[in-house]
């Protein structure tokens, strides 16, 4: 029996479209059937449009008939619902944007579609990308395709779950403190947070603007690299995007002579021994492939999480000020005599618990009398962390760490304790604070659940991370959720 089309990576299906063996429309149909079968159990999507997807797949087949084949031709794409598109609402999984349809398209999405990607739908997330489990989505959680009683990670929860379950080949996510890498780790997919500024943020719902970054998820290094290449590069609509040229992926897995380190600060207390074991196995695989291991010290790491939550929430409180119930969002009957009270009541009724917590904390640390003690101090600690990481990356080419200290946890296990939820980001926030590229690579299983390892590198050296990721993926077991997980 031949494998169903929804099990193909985007690179494999593109080769088969090129060879005339399948069409983009057949590829899409296989995915739509897979979604019908699996989505009721996983809940990865907030909006779907088969009609828009069929139109795009038909266009890909039309190009193929004319002898043209774009780099992502036919690739079935899920899009995190903070990235604005014209064919679906953009809700950020929040009641305050329920039903909102953007009049413009995000640059990252426009570029992916221009290179042949076919969007099947918008994927679920923690409200405004604030969370690590999808339990803060206003529209209900996504479940982990490996174990439906567990969370898929977050906040790019639906993107990771859709890719892992075979409902999409690739997906776009966003990552402010680990929101691409951590769900990629929990769901057994690859996920890249590019260097800050590498991908345009135009058309992306803002959370913490100095750390937000759009990036790809997929089931192979090649798919992640191709989607990354499609979306990366300067954009005149985002003045904080970097003009730095994007190097094409070569397919190389050559890590001979490359130096890496597993910093003690990333595998110490709080890291599940089963996760630490997988990291050691990944290190062994890199050594076998000819890389060399060195030691680095990163003592400021222990302060990263404390600094991260002050900086991220300060920026969030400012960014979310725009949701006043006047310019966007659903109509609500609010009884208040004047604008300030009206806006307060509207916001109070529309934001979820976690978003309120973050707006309150961020407002407090930016307010008179607290700014220097909290926000400014956190920004200086951020500078310390960046300096330390850049110095370490002068002696090694990349760092190897766990992506998350734990495997996917059970629904309800952490949702009522914000500090327990924040703790799962402890190993991923440093890359955001320092603006570095970092990638989660599936490296093995612990208690039947996927464990991702994180590769972190120098600014704008994503292709070096791809080489190391390719070396790992060829040497470590890469089971699929439909073989070993809960969605056969």
């Amino acid at each position: 029996m031949t494998a169903p089309l929804w099990t193909l990576t985007a690179a494999e299906s593109r080769r088969r479209i090129a060879a005339g063996e399948i069409t983009a429309q057949e590829l899409l149909s296989a995915h739509l059937e897979r979604i019908d079968a699996v989505e009721p159990r996983v809940h990865a999507f907030l909006a779907r449009s088969a009609e828009a997807a069929r139109r795009d797949a038909e266009a890909v087949d039309g190009s193929r008939a004319r002898g043209e084949l774009a780099p992502l031709a036919g690739a079935v794409l899920g899009v995190k619902d903070v990235i604005a598109g014209l064919d679906h609402p953009t809700t950020a999984a929040s009641r305050i944007l329920e039903g909102y349809v953007s009049p413009y398209e995000a640059t990252s999405l426009r570029r992916a579609r221009a290179r042949g990607a076919v969007v099947v739908g918008k994927t679920n997330l923690d409200e405004f990308a604030m969370g690590s489990s999808s339990e803060h989505s206003a529209f209900g959680p996504t479940l982990n395709p490996w174990d439906l009683e567990r969370v898929p990670g977050g906040s790019s929860s639906g993107s990771a779950a859709a890719v892992a379950a075979g409902m999409a080949q690739v997906a776009l996510g966003t990552d402010t403190g680990g929101s691409i890498r951590q769900p990629a780790s929990f769901c057994g997919t690859f996920g890249l947070k590019p260097t800050y500024g590498r991908v345009s943020r135009y058309g992306v719902v803002a959370f913490a603007s100095s750390m937000d970054q759009v990036g790809p998820l997929g089931r192979s290094v090649e798919d992640v690299a191709r989607l990354y290449e499609a979306i990366a590069g300067g954009d005149e609509l985002d003045a904080s995007s970097a003009a730095e040229p994007v190097e094409p992926w070569t397919g190389s897995d050559d890590v001979r002579g490359l130096a890496f380190a597993v910093p003690d600060e990333y595998v110490g207390a709080g890291v599940d021994p089963g996760v630490a074991r997988v990291v050691r196995e990944a290190a062994r695989a890199l050594l076998d492939a000819g890389a060399v291991e060195r030691r680095v010290a990163l003592p400021a790491t222990e302060h990263a999480l404390d600094a991260y939550y002050l900086v991220a929430d300060a920026e969030a409180s400012s960014n979310l000020g725009r949701y006043d119930g006047l310019r966007y969002g659903p109509r609500r009957a609010v009884d208040a005599p004047e604008a300030a009270a009206w806006i307060s009541a509207y916001r109070g009724r529309s934001f979820g618990t976690e978003v309120k917590r973050r707006i309150m904390l961020g407002t407090h640390v930016l307010s008179a009398g607290y700014y220097d003690a909290y926000y400014l101090r956190a920004m200086r600690v951020r500078a310390l962390i960046r300096r330390e990481l850049l110095a370490a990356l002068e002696t090694v080419d990349f760092l190897l760490t766990p992506t998350s200290p734990v495997v996917a946890f059970r629904l309800g296990e952490r949702v009522d304790d914000p500090l327990a939820m924040y703790a799962v980001d402890i190993l991923s926030v440093t890359a955001n604070l320092a603006g570095l590229p970092a990638m989660s690579v599936p490296a093995g299983l612990h208690q039947g659940l996927p464990v991702g390892v994180q590769l972190m590198g120098r600014p704008f050296q994503e292709t070096l991370l791809f080489r190391a990721a390719e070396a790992l993926s060829r040497r470590l077991p890469q089971p699929a959720a439909w073989e070993a997980g809960a969605v056969r």
Binding site: Y104, Y328, G348, I359, H364, R380
Partner: protein
């Protein structure tokens, strides 16, 4: 953290809270800020916040040339309340 302080912050960020929410946030914020205060013990001499990307490497500002923007009617249509292509807002100056 006193309840008055929670109410003050909520006023600053225009967020109406129920009593139960305010009470819960009082505890949560206190616990989170306790972590934030640990940064106070660090030696940070000479460290200042700095941009992540050198300005020279940025895409930069585009030419200051007018281009067609969004249609005003389309923008008004996104708003929850609109009238004749304009966004309707509650009274700003009271009665």
């Amino acid at each position: 953290m006193e309840r008055e302080e929670i109410d003050h912050i909520a006023r600053l960020c225009r967020l109406e809270l129920t009593d139960a929410e305010a009470e819960r946030l009082r505890g949560d914020l206190e616990r989170i800020l306790e972590h934030g205060r640990r940064l106070g013990a660090l030696e940070l001499e000479g460290l200042q916040p700095s941009p992540l990307i050198p300005v020279m490497e940025l895409e930069g500002l585009r030419a200051d040339v007018a281009r067609p923007g969004l249609d005003p009617g389309q923008v008004a249509a996104i708003a929850p309340r609109q009238r004749a292509g304009r966004i309707e807002v509650p009274p700003v100056a009271g009665h």
